[in-house]
């Protein structure tokens, strides 16, 4: 088969840890250098935590695997230093089309409101993301990635975790404060610890074929229910970088995976779909089954499970890698505060609380999509077809068609870290929500500005562009705290006003930041380091802000 991409081979490198007379201690050790494990490592570096990533392999993803990266994941990757390369190399798409048998049923445009830096989605082969992450890790002094290093034993001690690492040069022992387990859907460590991930196995098989072709197909997501070229099944077409196209065929449970992925069996399917005259080359095939399941708890003492190791969804909706990257976005700032002694260890329980909630939302959505795409009973098949038949002409039915509800970040509505609203706002930026974006200053973006791994405070100045003496003093105190200093951003301050010490002026030239946050004069928003909103008020109140900060850090 053709190879549009050569996987790099990373060498095992001897570590001085192997020669140490007593086990060397690392604050954070991460198991697994997939997208989620590496996101954890990069996030640790951003937070200022020394971290070590261990991976039993020596290369990036074999095959394209996770190809759809959603807006929120890209924003997190921006903070980790990989977002721009992803967007530059990836295929930006907004339009999705749905077909039933011979006809197009409808199309949808994912494009959200204008004036956000990142698009709704890009498609890019997983190996590129992993390569960009490896490059980024290699530029960090405080995070190290060791290949060919398999964790064979995990033992939780009173105040640390001890692990055994197997390498081509033999075994050695390490200790850490926290072990982040990102070793994938079939997590060896999860099994080793006797922990389960339970849920639903779907009795269906899907064939993935990556083909290289020069074509004028637009970069859109095309989804067919029961198409003439693949009767009885569904098919999905996505464009990736380098003229590689991802095609998924639903095969049914009785299909023989080994037979189905042979080129002589895949090529006729592709010809039926693409037409005899279309020239293409097959690059990669795989047959997969999937499960929708999660661990009961993502935190087990000093072990924190991230990504597919913690929760696994069907591929419909692109909720796997995207949600895994949001796991580490949620976790690492908390680990930092706990390691620094600024927050109690129980803050890490909120990782479990918030990300289990998110996982359940993802599981619900991906299970429902799967049920619509692959009906499991005659009656559900009838309703599915009735919906598709109506959808072509009757708009109401289009909302019922479910070819994947594409990944959106969870809003932690009921998180114990939120401070409930007590004022009225005409903005959906409620506590628990990941912040929206907006253009600020000269060609900068709000999410870039608050992508500084710190708590941020956004204050809207008085109508006349001033700020009262009392508010100035209060904000100065918050910005210069010895405890957890809040980076203060002020909108609407006239140029002649001097900026209080330790604060940043934000120009909202288009007025969109003010509009999206309903930023009436005096309004203050408190953002967590993962850019989720912790609290908001119509007026500054030092005690309330202190209480909200305590709440957001698990201190009260």
């Amino acid at each position: 088969m053709l190879q549009s991409h050569q996987n790099p081979v990373y060498e095992f490198v001897h570590s001085s840890d192997q020669d140490a007379p007593t086990p060397v201690h690392h604050p954070v050790i991460i198991v697994g250098a997939g997208p989620v494990g590496m996101a954890a490592g990069l996030d640790a570096a951003k937070q200022g935590i020394a971290a070590l990533i261990l991976d039993d392999n020596n290369t990036v993803s074999i095959g394209s695997r996770a190809v759809c990266y959603a807006k929120r994941a890209l924003e997190v990757l921006d903070r980790l230093g990989c977002g721009q390369r992803m967007v530059d190399k990836g295929i930006t798409w907004n339009l999705g089309k749905v077909f039933f048998r011979d006809d197009q049923v409808y199309s949808f445009n994912l494009l959200p409101e204008a004036d956000h830096e990142r698009p709704a989605f890009i498609n890019l082969q997983q190996y590129y993301l992993e390569e960009y992450m490896v490059d980024q890790i290699n530029q960090q002094e405080t995070v190290e990635l060791r290949w060919k290093s398999r964790v064979t034993q995990v033992e939780e001690k009173a105040n640390h975790v001890q692990i055994q690492v197997e390498t081509p040069e033999g075994e050695y022992t390490l200790t850490c404060d926290y072990l982040l387990v990102g070793d994938g859907a079939n997590s060896g460590i999860r099994k080793m610890m006797g922990l389960e991930s339970s849920g639903q196995v779907f009795q269906d098989r899907f064939l993935i074929a990556d083909v290289v072709m020069e074509t004028d197909f637009p970069p859109e997501r095309w989804f067919w229910f029961d198409p003439p070229f693949h009767k009885g099944g569904s098919t999905l077409l996505h464009r990736q970088a380098d003229n590689v196209w991802r095609i998924d065929f639903q095969l049914g449970w009785d299909a023989d995976p080994e037979e189905e992925k042979k080129p002589e069996n895949v090529i006729p399917r592709l010809k039926a779909m693409l037409g005899e005259e279309t020239e293409f080359e097959l690059e990669w095939t795989s047959v997969y089954t999937f499960q929708c399941r999660r661990m009961e708890k993502f935190r087990h003492g000093r072990l924190l499970f991230i990504g597919d190791a913690a929760h696994q969804v069907s591929p419909f909706g692109a909720r796997g890698a995207n949600s895994g990257i949001q796991d580490t976005d949620n976790l690492l700032w908390k680990v930092k505060l706990v390691l620094d002694g600024k927050a109690p260890d129980t803050l890490l329980d909120s990782y479990d609380e918030e990300r289990v909630y998110a996982a359940d939302e993802n599981l619900l959505n991906s299970t429902r999509s799967t049920d619509f795409i692959t009906p499991k009973s005659p009656v559900s098949n009838t309703f599915r077809n009735a919906t598709l038949l109506l959808a072509e002409e009757y708009p109401f039915a289009r909302t019922l068609v479910n070819s994947g509800r594409l990944s959106l970040p969870s809003v932690y509505h009921s998180s114990s870290l939120n401070t409930a609203d007590e004022d009225e706002f005409d903005s959906n930026m409620v506590p628990g929500t990941p912040s929206t974006d907006a253009p600020v200053n000269e060609s900068d973006w709000f999410l870039r500005v608050i992508g500084n791994n710190r708590f941020n405070g956004l204050f809207f100045a008085e109508q006349d562009g001033t700020i009262s003496e009392a508010n100035r003093n209060l904000l100065t105190t918050l910005a210069n705290s010895d405890d957890i200093a809040i980076n203060i951003l002020i909108v609407g301050l006239t140029a002649d006003q001097t900026l209080p010490n330790g604060m940043v002026r934000l120009a909202d030239n288009k007025g969109l930041l003010t509009e999206r946050f309903d930023g009436k004069p005096g309004t203050f928003y408190l953002f967590r380091p993962d850019q989720h909103i912790a609290a908001r008020w119509r007026a500054l109140d030092q005690q309330k802000i202190a209480a909200a900060l305590n709440r957001a850090t698990g201190r009260s």
Partner: protein
Amino acid sequence: MIETQHLNVQPALKRPDDFYNALVDMHRDLSEEQSQLANAKLILLLANHIGDEATLEEALKIATEGLN
């Protein structure tokens, strides 16, 4: 019997015999499979027209009452 708060279970059709006849008549020339599909479409159309989840939930409950 299920008590309803949203769903009207009192007579509302002005000419009930006409409607019942039309409903059965809809299936006259349809195969079994087509009939199933027509029923499903009808349910989806009416559900959207009702447009109130609480009302629909009550109807769903009554529909399976005593069947399992």
